[in-house]
Amino acid sequence: MITLRIDDIPVQAEPDQTILDAAKAAGIRIPTLCHLPGLSPVGACRLCLVEIRNWNGKLVPACATPVQEGLDVVANSDRLRELRRTILELLFAERNHICAFCVANGHCELQDLAAELGMDHVRFPYRFPPLPLDASHPKFGIDHNRCILCGRCVRACSEVEGAMTWGFAGRGIFTLIEADLGDPWGDAKTCTGCGKCVQACPTGALFEKGRATGEQEKRPAIVAALTERRPRAQG
C-alpha cells in the first residue's frame, strides 16, 4: 500500500494504480477525455493534468502517472482549471464542433466538460478547417470535423477487438484518424463492423448512421465491461 495526498486528503493506493485511480477511489473528481477505463492510458489530451507540490509544482497527466509514496498532489486549483479550460478551448477552435445540430448533442463528453469547466467562450480564433465526413460504411460514419484525436477508437479497435482498423495518419493539426491504409471506411477489409470504436468515441465524430441531431447516445462503459470479463494474460 502506498500513501499519498490529493488535495490535502491522505489517500491509500495499490502500487500499480495511477493518480487518477487513487483520486477516483477517494471520490476526488479529475476531468478526463482521452482516458477510458479498459483501455491503456496514453496521456494524449492533458485534461487530467495535476500538479505535484513536492516536485516543484510539476504538471503530470493523472491518467498516465503511477502513484508514489508521499506524493503531494493538487487535483483542483484555479491554475489547473484555467489550464484545462484552455485545452478545451483549443480543442474547440481546432475543428468544427457545432453542437446545435450534432448527432451527439446532449451526449458528448467534450460538450459536458465545456459545461463543467465553465467554458463560456473560446479565446482563440477558430480554424474552420475543411474536413471530410466519411459515410461509406454500411452501419457507421466518421465526421472528422468533430474528432479530437483522443485515440480511444484506435485503442478500442486494437486492444479490445484486435482488428487494428483505425490508426493515426499525418502530423500535428493535420492528423486524421484513418481506416486501414486511408481507405474509405466502407472498403476497410480489417473492419469487423463491431462498433466498439463508435461507443468509445467521446464526441459525435464516430456515429451510427441514421441518427439525427442529438440521437447518438454513447456507451463507452462497454469497453471496460468487456475487458474486465476477459482472463488476464499470465505475466
Binding site: K209, A212, E215
Partner: protein
C-alpha cells in the same frame, strides 16, 4: 445622389426599400432589397441527410418547426419511405401548433398596433405596449393563443432535449396521453380567442378601405398546396395555381417536380431569388403564397367555423380571388381558427397516441424534395445526396422568396399613393412597413442567412441623387 432611408420595424429581419422618382416627382420604380446573404445551401454540403432537419431548423429562429418538418419530408423521399400514419398525424399537429403560434405573433404582436391604433399614430405608442394599454383583453388573448401553439410544439418536440423531433421516416417520439389531455383542455379557450379576434377584425374592416385598395392590391396568380379533393392543406397534397378570377390554371402538380413549373429569376440588386410560374413567364408569372393564397386556392377549409368565415372572406371579392395583400391579415385569422379546429380533431384521432411513429430505411434515392405549407407560405427543401446519404447540393425555396415579386409591387403601389413631395413622411414610412408586414416576411431565412440584416428606405431622385432617407430601429 440623394437618398431617403427608412427602416422597417416589426418584421423578422430587415431589408432595404428604394424609391426612385421621375422628373415629375412621381414614383418611377420601387424596390424591396434584401441586403445580405450567407449561403446556407453551401453550409449543408457534406452533412448527412439525417442531420438536415436539425441543421435547417437553425436557419431561422422564427420558424424552425417549418424547416424541421419540411426537411424530414425531403428525407422521407430520399429514404423512399412513407412514414407510418401516426407520424403524419403528429407532424400535422406540430405544424398546426406552428401556424397558431406564428399567426398569433403576426396578428396580435406585430400587426394589430397598426391596424387598431392607426397608421399615423406616434410610433412610440404604436407597438405592442401601446396595444396593451388600449386593448388589454386583446393583448392578453394574443399571448395566450400564442402560448397554446407553443405548447403543442413543446408537447411533441420536447425542444430542449431533442432539437430535431421530426426525422427522415417519421418522428422520434409519440405523444403522451397526459400531453394530449392537457392540450385538449385548452382547445375551447383557443377557439374562443380565434373567434373573437376574427370578429373584431371583421367589424373594423370597413375602416380600412384605403389600405385594402393600396396595400398590394393587384391581380396575380396564387399558389398553394390543396388536398386531392380541393380542401385547404398544410402538410400533404398537391400544388394548385389559381388566377385573379379564382380560375384554376394548374392543378394536381407534383410538388417534387417544382422545377418544371417554377422558375427562379435572379436580379442583380437583391439576394432573394424571384420565383415565377413558368407558363406565364417572368415577371408576368408573379404569384403569391401564404395565408391569402391558400384561401384563394382551396375549395373549402374543411372545418365548420373556418368554412363559415371563408364564405365571408370570399364575399369580399364576389367569389373571385381576394387580391389585396392587406387581406393576408384576414386570411391569417381564418387559418388560425381552422388550425384550432383541426388540432381539436387530431387530438381525438384514434392513432394520435400510437407508438408506431418511425420507418427506418437506408439511402434509396439520390434526390428528394420536401414540400410543406409553412405559416408564411409554401416551403420547398430539395436535396441531392451521394449513395451514402451525404448532401451534395441543396436548394431551398422559402415563402418570403415566393412573395418577393409581390412585395416589390406592393411597395411601389403604396409609395405611389402616399408619397408627397420629396420626403419620407411618418405616414408613408408606417404604411410601407405595414405593406411588407402584411406578408409577415421572414427575411433572415429567405436569404438563408443566419443573422439579421438592416432595412432602410431610400428616396432617390431622377438623376440618382438621394432625396431623403429614413431609418428607425426595431
Amino acid at each position: 445622389m440623394k437618398e431617403i432611408k427608412v427602416p422597417v420595424t416589426r418584421i423578422e429581419g430587415h431589408g432595404l426599400i428604394t424609391l426612385r422618382l421621375d422628373r415629375g416627382g412621381k414614383v418611377a420604380a420601387a424596390k424591396f432589397h434584401v441586403t445580405e446573404a450567407r449561403g446556407f445551401e453551401r453550409f449543408c454540403q457534406g452533412r448527412t441527410v439525417w442531420e438536415m432537419p436539425g441543421i435547417t431548423a437553425r436557419i431561422c429562429g422564427i420558424c424552425p418547426v417549418s424547416h424541421l418538418l419540411c426537411s424530414a419530408k425531403a428525407g422521407d423521399a430520399i429514404l423512399a419511405v412513407r412514414p407510418p400514419r401516426p407520424a403524419e398525424v403528429l407532424r400535422r399537429l406540430m405544424n398546426l401548433g406552428q401556424f397558431i403560434q406564428s399567426h398569433a405573433l403576426s396578428f396580435f404582436h406585430l400587426s394589430s398596433p397598426d391596424l387598431l391604433l392607426g397608421w399615423d399614430a406616434d410610433p412610440k405608442g404604436r407597438n405592442v405596449f401601446g396595444l396593451a394599454q388600449a386593448h388589454p383583453q386583446l393583448a392578453l388573448d394574443g399571448i395566450r393563443l400564442r402560448a397554446f401553439g407553443q405548447e403543442i410544439i413543446a408537447a411533441l418536440g420536447e425542444k430542449r432535449v431533442h432539437p430535431a423531433w421530426a426525422v427522415p421516416g417519421g418522428v422520434r417520439q409519440p405523444l403522451s396521453p397526459e400531453a394530449r389531455d392537457r392540450l385538449a383542455a385548452k382547445v375551447p379557450e383557443a377557439r374562443r380567442i380565434a373567434q373573437d379576434a376574427l370578429a373584431l377584425y371583421e367589424a373594423r374592416l370597413p375602416e380600412w378601405g384605403e389600405e385594402i385598395e393600396t396595400f398590394g392590391n393587384f391581380p396575380s396568380l396564387f399558389m398553394a398546396l390543396v388536398a386531392s379533393d380541393g380542401t385547404w392543406e398544410h402538410h400533404a397534397g398537391r400544388i394548385r395555381f389559381v388566377d385573379a378570377d379564382r380560375r384554376v390554371v394548374a392543378d394536381g402538380l407534383d410538388p417534387a417536380r417544382y422545377p418544371e413549373y417554377i422558375g427562379e429569376a435572379v436580379e442583380g440588386w437583391s439576394y432573394l431569388k424571384f420565383p415565377y410560374f413558368q407558363d406565364a413567364g417572368y415577371p408576368e408569372g408573379l404569384y403569391r403564397v401564404g395565408p391569402l393564397s391558400r384561401l384563394n386556392c382551396c375549395d373549402r377549409m374543411g372545418t365548420p367555423l373556418a368554412d363559415e368565415a371563408l364564405a365571408r372572406f370570399r364575399a369580399q371579392a364576389d367569389g373571385k380571388a381576394v387580391t389585396s395583400s392587406f387581406h393576408y391579415h384576414y386570411a391569417r385569422l381564418i387559418e388560425t381558427l381552422a388550425a384550432v379546429e383541426q388540432v381539436a380533431r387530431l387530438l381525438e384521432d384514434p392513432e394520435v397516441l400510437s407508438p408506431r411513429v418511425r420507418a427506418e430505411a437506408g439511402i434509396n434515392e439520390l434526390e428528394g424534395v420536401g414540400v410543406h405549407e409553412a405559416p408564411r407560405g409554401t416551403l420547398f427543401h430539395h436535396y441531392w445526396v451521394d449513395e451514402h446519404g451525404v448532401i451534395q447540393r441543396v436548394n431551398l425555396i422559402v415563402s418570403t422568396g415566393h412573395n418577393n415579386l409581390a412585395m416589390n409591387r406592393t411597395v411601389a403601389q403604396i409609395a405611389a399613393r402616399y408619397l408627397t413631395g420629396r420626403k419620407v413622411s411618418d405616414g408613408l414610412l408606417n404604411r410601407l412597413e405595414g405593406g411588407i408586414r402584411a406578408y409577415d416576411p421572414c427575411l433572415s431565412c429567405s436569404v438563408h442567412a443566419v443573422g439579421r440584416m438592416p432595412l432602410r428606405v431610400v428616396l432617390v431622385g431622377p438623376t440618382g441623387e438621394v432625396l431623403d432617407e429614413r431609418t428607425r430601429d426595431a
